[in-house]
Every structure is written in structure tokens, then in C-alpha cells.
Symmetry: C2
Subunit: 496 residues, 2 copies
Amino acid sequence: MAKELKELTKRSENYSQWYNDLVVKADLAEQSAVRGCMVIKPYGYAIWEKMQRQLDDMFKETGHVNAYFPLLIPKSYLSREADHVEGFAKECAVVTHYRLKNAPDGSGVVVDPAARLEEELIIRPTSETIIWSTYKNWIQSYRDLPILCNQWANVMRWEMRTRLFLRTAEFLWQEGHTAHATREEAEEEAQRMLHVYGNFAEKYMAVPVVKGVKSANERFAGALDTYTIEALMQDGKALQSGTSHFLGQNFAKAFDVQFVDKENQLQYVWATSWGVSTRLMGALIMTHSDDNGLVLPPKLAPIQVVIVPIYKNEEQLAALNEKLGAIANKLKAMGISVKYDNADNKRPGFKFAEYELKGVPVRLVMGGRDLENNTMEVMRRDTLEKQTVTCDGIEEYVKNLLDEIQENIFQKALKYREENTTKVDTYEEFKEQIEKGGFILAHWDGTPETEERIKEETKATIRCIPFEADEESLTPGKCMVTGKPSARRVLFARAY
Amino acid sequence: MAKELKELTKRSENYSQWYNDLVVKADLAEQSAVRGCMVIKPYGYAIWEKMQRQLDDMFKETGHVNAYFPLLIPKSYLSREADHVEGFAKECAVVTHYRLKNAPDGSGVVVDPAARLEEELIIRPTSETIIWSTYKNWIQSYRDLPILCNQWANVMRWEMRTRLFLRTAEFLWQEGHTAHATREEAEEEAQRMLHVYGNFAEKYMAVPVVKGVKSANERFAGALDTYTIEALMQDGKALQSGTSHFLGQNFAKAFDVQFVDKENQLQYVWATSWGVSTRLMGALIMTHSDDNGLVLPPKLAPIQVVIVPIYKNEEQLAALNEKLGAIANKLKAMGISVKYDNADNKRPGFKFAEYELKGVPVRLVMGGRDLENNTMEVMRRDTLEKQTVTCDGIEEYVKNLLDEIQENIFQKALKYREENTTKVDTYEEFKEQIEKGGFILAHWDGTPETEERIKEETKATIRCIPFEADEESLTPGKCMVTGKPSARRVLFARAY
């Protein structure tokens, strides 16, 4: 059984298969009976809940409140903002009827043709349109601004090729939608939230990200600017992990949302929107995990410490229960989530494999000999190193170890990214390098045409124009493709 | 402005209008552009979040975990369980297509007829079918049981007549779905969760509820037994506030979910489901609020204490800020949510009216004279009583006052319910009494036909057969309608 549990495809053999195996075997998610829609299983959902709680706290700290807007959007709303409809309206779930009836032949239920909607409704692919149609009624004066709303919701995009967490027809996310009196304030908000995402990714997920702005081709449909955090996965592909959009006055104009400013003039409202989704689960998995299973950052692990007693008889178990129960309670009192697993229907080896697969950061094991010596074996999931330590002060030791693991996996991922970020100056070099994966910093002439050509010929896209770069990258140069002037290097990669 | 804010319809004039006014004016929710779907505004959502957090904690304390299942359900699934399809399948949103395309005439977007789904998908009205189709893959052996999952989700029922929170096409809820090896365990679970709901309603919402079992007519579609908590609103109508269902083996049989028991025999799994929704917001509002606005139980109030300084000049404001800021911080440190409102663009009278409307349980006001005397004015929202108290120990005073308000509004609601629960013995009396509203305890012969007749003739239904009753109510008698034998009194009311 222990063996079967661990039978993951190796990353070196087939990274994509390894990912699918891991998501299913670690009980994170699975395909449902509905094409492209996933079931998020309790263990996967527990990680998502930890992400949600932390992000929600960070949104509230920056002055945001939650609200809830309708799931369904009138079809005509999508056409109001021209770029938006081009980018979104096409692949989505359409509600056309509101009633079923018994099939005349008794075979089940059929759609009642008499119950056809006058106007079809779309399951939200994102909520700018329905929210801005609502904001119209909330905003009259500059005193009503800013509005800083977020919603936690499910959305649906009818993707043709889906992968658990990374690209699913239905997914869970949060979407912030803010309204401001001035352009400056809206731009500041869009950047503020991008930095919130960056902090969350690095400090909680332990995923290093490059923050920057998207090129025109990669902008959100309807945005003037899209900011992004980009992470590098173990297979050398980029994963866009969160975006924040400065929407200008586009949606305000589309939905006629104006306010009276301090000078008593009518003005259109300035907007932002920003979101992260269950896709972050994919980033988490593909940044840290290994051939033995998940590696979770302690700050997001549903179980941070598992304690397993090894015993030969009931008497020994009773003694271990007493000793380990006390340690478990002390750890819990310190705010650490602990599972004490003394179940007798599974062998220790099976338990070890299961908790490795599930990425529990720290494992404590105590047997009869340890009991005599007042020691225990401590295994850290990130390095798989084992150490025998004294039980005196074990709680502080574990607490520090969790912090150390959190830091270590971040540093490891950062090192990987640094080692896999290269600068190239010719298109030949670029084509060669892109096959090896990783981030590439290169010069580009700034035109959509060149970007499009690179994408077609190499499947690489501009992930972003990074906010932070070394001096050399900020020095003007020549476009690697056309030789035309380039203001600075930008970040390329193949992406999920 | 202060006057306009408070212009609620009086309850005595038109209760239904008062409710609608209050929901909108207190910024709880509003109608959206999509028929029957509401926007839950930030203040309303903040109350819902507090409910969610508390319920979620209570579910986890009783061993449950969260998960997420798809929004869409294949149409054929609804027909699998015969009673279920009768009860649910008819009025629901049907997805028939998955793509839009540009209208040939450039007028916007139209549904792409080429993108018709082979099988239509239904937006979940409840998730038993999709969840049991999933559980089939999760359950092989008794070792896989019990499964104790809950999900927080949006659901949709195409109601013809909708009212904010009480009955909306889309609403938010949680739905627990559990799977058990034995009938006894499932029945116990269904009752356990009903008691969780009862405790939540009484201890957090301060809403007294009658717990009991539904008659066959009022059972959930597909259940063997439905347990319910029933609350009495101020207008004498009942509001079903939460239900828990013992589903027997119906869904296991419909989706062929069997397990190997300890004796190595194949058995069908036993099921429960249970849910509460944003309808609880309606119960909260209609139990406590008054002609001045919301009255919120302190345990669910987004703002528990508001502090307002009254000042003549900047110097006085500075002194008040210092004094009151310190008090606010101490209250916050005690875990109390405080808003300190020293905004200078609104007059105190306006602020008072606004916080009354929004149901903030305690208001503290300090002016120049108070500052000199080291006193403040304390107003409690439930009774609107004002008192001048010393600032020494004000924090403890406020903390105790919040507890007192929580208890007082519960007792007030309980007294109202007791005064509006009557026993009647003849159908004539019943018809007369039901016009006055309230709960009626009466004898019934136990047949669906009699229940149906009572409903048709009086619009009253059996809310439940209460778990707890006085001895007289448990004494056999004669049905008030047919004169046939009755085992005990049951609870009638007109209901929302």
C-alpha cells in the first residue's frame, strides 16, 4: 500500500503527468462528471481556505470590503465595452431557459421550450460589467468615492483544454473592483494590489515572483494597463499567478458612471480590477513539490506537524500517548496545527508515505527507545533530512524549524529562478535558449507585430516588463528580432 | 438628511414595505439587473461573513471539512432520484450553449447555434446529485466512511416571486453532505446538525427557534425525514431558518454508491444533507429590528461600538481624539469591533440616525462637558436608552453591556414568541386565530389530506412536529378538522 501511494510519475520522466498524478493522489482535486469542471477535495480545499483567509486579511488591511454580485450577466452587457467583449464574450456558458418539464415519454426531464428567456444570461467569466452597472447607482458625488469592493466567487470560462487548477471551466477566485475619483488614485490602487499579491506569493506561498506590467498584447480585455506577478515553475515554464488592472474610464463610460467632483463638474469614474484564483494552487504545487509528493510552505499547510508513535504493545502505546499528547497540546497552544496519528489500522511506513505525499512540513516520530532516551526523530519534508533530538524544548525547536522550512523553500525556488533566468541578445540564441525553458531577458522593439512573430515562431510570450531590473537590463539596446531600437530588456518565457 | 435616512415605512403601517425599505436603506442588499438576483452590499455581506465564520467553526468542531463541487449538473442527474426531480427539477436555470459570436449585423453578440451542448446543464438548485455521483468514486469500504463534507456555495432556483434575502433566484448558502455506514449514524448526524443550527440561531443570532420534524408534505424532495428550525417573525409569520435531512439510502441507490461492510457484505450508504442560507439575514432583520432601523445582536454586528465626539473647535477635537482614541484602542484590544467617527463632513445628528439605522449595538458620545467631567453618554440600540457614565472602567462596562444586549434581544424575541403561541381545539378557533398570526399548537389526524385542506383553506402549514413540548401537547386528542384521533399537537403557522 505504501508503495502504491507513492507511485507518482517522476518529474524527469513526464512533468505534466507527475503534476496530474500528484493533484489526484494527494487528494487535492479531481475531474468531475461535468467537462472541465473540477471537484476540489477537502485536503485541497483546506489549502485554498488558508490562502483565502490570508488574502482576505490583507485586502481588509488595505481598506477593502467584501460584497456579492450576481452569477448571471445579461448578454447585452458584454457588448458594452468593445475590447472586453472581444477578449471574453466568446467562450462562456449561456443560460437560455428557466424551466424543465417531464419528458412526454416518461424518460426523464426535458427543457421546457415555453420557458425561453427573452435575453440570454451568461455565467460570469469575470464581473466588470455587472458590477459597473451596479456602481452606476452607488456613485453620484466624489463623496461616494472611492469604492473598494472585493468578491469571492466562482466564475466560468468554457476552456477547451483544461487541467486541474491551472485551467478549468469553473474556478474559484476573488475579484476586486474599485472606483476612484482620479486617474492617479486608480493607478496607485492597481499597483498597490499587485504588491499585495507579490507579498502574498513570496511570504506565504514561498513562491518568488517577478512583478511587472504586461505588453499591449497580453493586457486584460478592457484595461489600459495590466500588472502581473509571474512565477517560474520547475519545468521552466512561467505561470501568471495574479493580475491587477488599471481600467481607466472604459467601464465607467460603457455603463455611464459619472460623479460630481469637488469643483461641481461631471466626471467619469476611474476603475481598477484585480484577481487571483485557484490557479495559485498550481503555482504552489509546481514550485516546491518533488517526486515523493507535495512540499507545502508551513504557512499554508493544513497540517504543519504530524506526530507518529511506534509501539510494540498497548502499554508502550499508552506511555507514548501520554508523552506525545502533551507535546501535541503544547504545539497547538502555540498556534501550530498538529495531527497526532496513533491509528492502529495503518503501518508506520504507510503513514510516513502518506504524509510525505501530502506535504506535511514536519514529522515527529517516537518509539520505545526514544521514550527511554527522551528523544524523538524529526523529519523535515523539504529536505527529507532526519535528526534525533531531545524532547526538552522540542516545541520551540519545531516552531523554529517551520520558519526555517518556510524560508528554505523560498530560497530554493529563488535560486532555481535565478539560475534559470538568462539574457540573450540574438534571436538565434533566444530560440536555442527557449527550448531549455526558463525566463529570458531580451531586447524587443516594443511593437505588437514583433511580439506576435516571436510567439508564433517560438511559443514564447512577453510575461512582463519587470518593475525591478539590473542596470544593464534598463540600458537601451537593439531588438533581437528586428534590430530596431529597444528601450530595455523585457521578460520572455513559454507559459502555462 | 438625517430625516431622510430614517424615513422607513412604519412596521404597523406596512410590515412588508418596512422590510424592503430597511434592507435597502441600511445598505444590506438591493435588486440587481438580473431578475430575482440580488446584490449583497458590503454592510450586509459583513454580517453574512460573521455568520459564515461562526457556522464554519461549529461545523469544524463537529468534525466536518469543506470541499467544492461543480456549479453545473448534467440534466439527466436530476431524474435519477424520483422524488428529488419532482421537488426540484422544474424551475431552474438551464445552460444550453457554450459560445457566443459576433452578431452578423454588428449589433453585439448572439448565441452561436453551433455551440449547443449535447446534454443541457443545470445550475445547481442543491447539490445532492452531483455530490453523490462523486461519492461513488470515494467510497468502497466501511473504512472510507463517514464522509463529512460541507460546501459554501451559490445556488439558483428560478423563483417567480422574489424578496431580498427571503426568496431570491440566486442565493448563498452552505450545504453539508454526509455519508455513513449505518442508518443510526446518519439519523444522529442529521439531528446533530439541526441542533448546531438551533444553537447558532439562539446564541449568535439571538433568534429563538422551535426545533422539530417536518410532516411528509413539507419534507425535502428525496428525504425520509426533514428536521427544521422555525422562527416567528414580528408580523406573526413563521420563517423556516434551516433544515437538516435524513436521506436514507435514496441517493446512494440512485447513484449506486455501495460499500463493503465489516462483515464483507455490500451495503448501500446512508446519507444526510443540511443547509442554511442568506435567508438567515431575513430572519435576523425581522426578529429584532424596529421603526428606527436594524437592531443587530452584538455577536454578529460588523461594528459593535461606535464612538462619536462632539466638538466646538479643533482644540476640543484634539482633546477628544486623544481621550476617545485611547478608549477605542482598549476596546479593540478586548476583541470588540469599534468605529471611531470624528468625520467633520456629517453632523452628529446625521451620524446618530445612520448608526441607529444600521443597528450598531452601542453608541458612545463625548462632548466638551463630558470631557471636563470624565463622563460619556452611552446609548444602547436595543432599548434606545441613554445613560451618562464615568469613563473609569468604561471598557468593562461596554463589554458587559454588549452581553446584556445580546441576552436582552433574545429574551424579548422569546417573550414575543411565547405570547404569540396559542393552543386551539376547534377549526373555527384556528381560522380566527390564524388571522392574528403567530404559532398555533393544534391536533391533527396525521394525514396529508387534512394538512392540504388546512393549507388551502387558511394558508397555514404545519411548520413542524416539535421535539420539545409540554405534557398537555403530548397528550393524544382529536384532530381539529376531522375529529379523528391525533397523537399530539403540532405547530401551525402561515409562513414566509
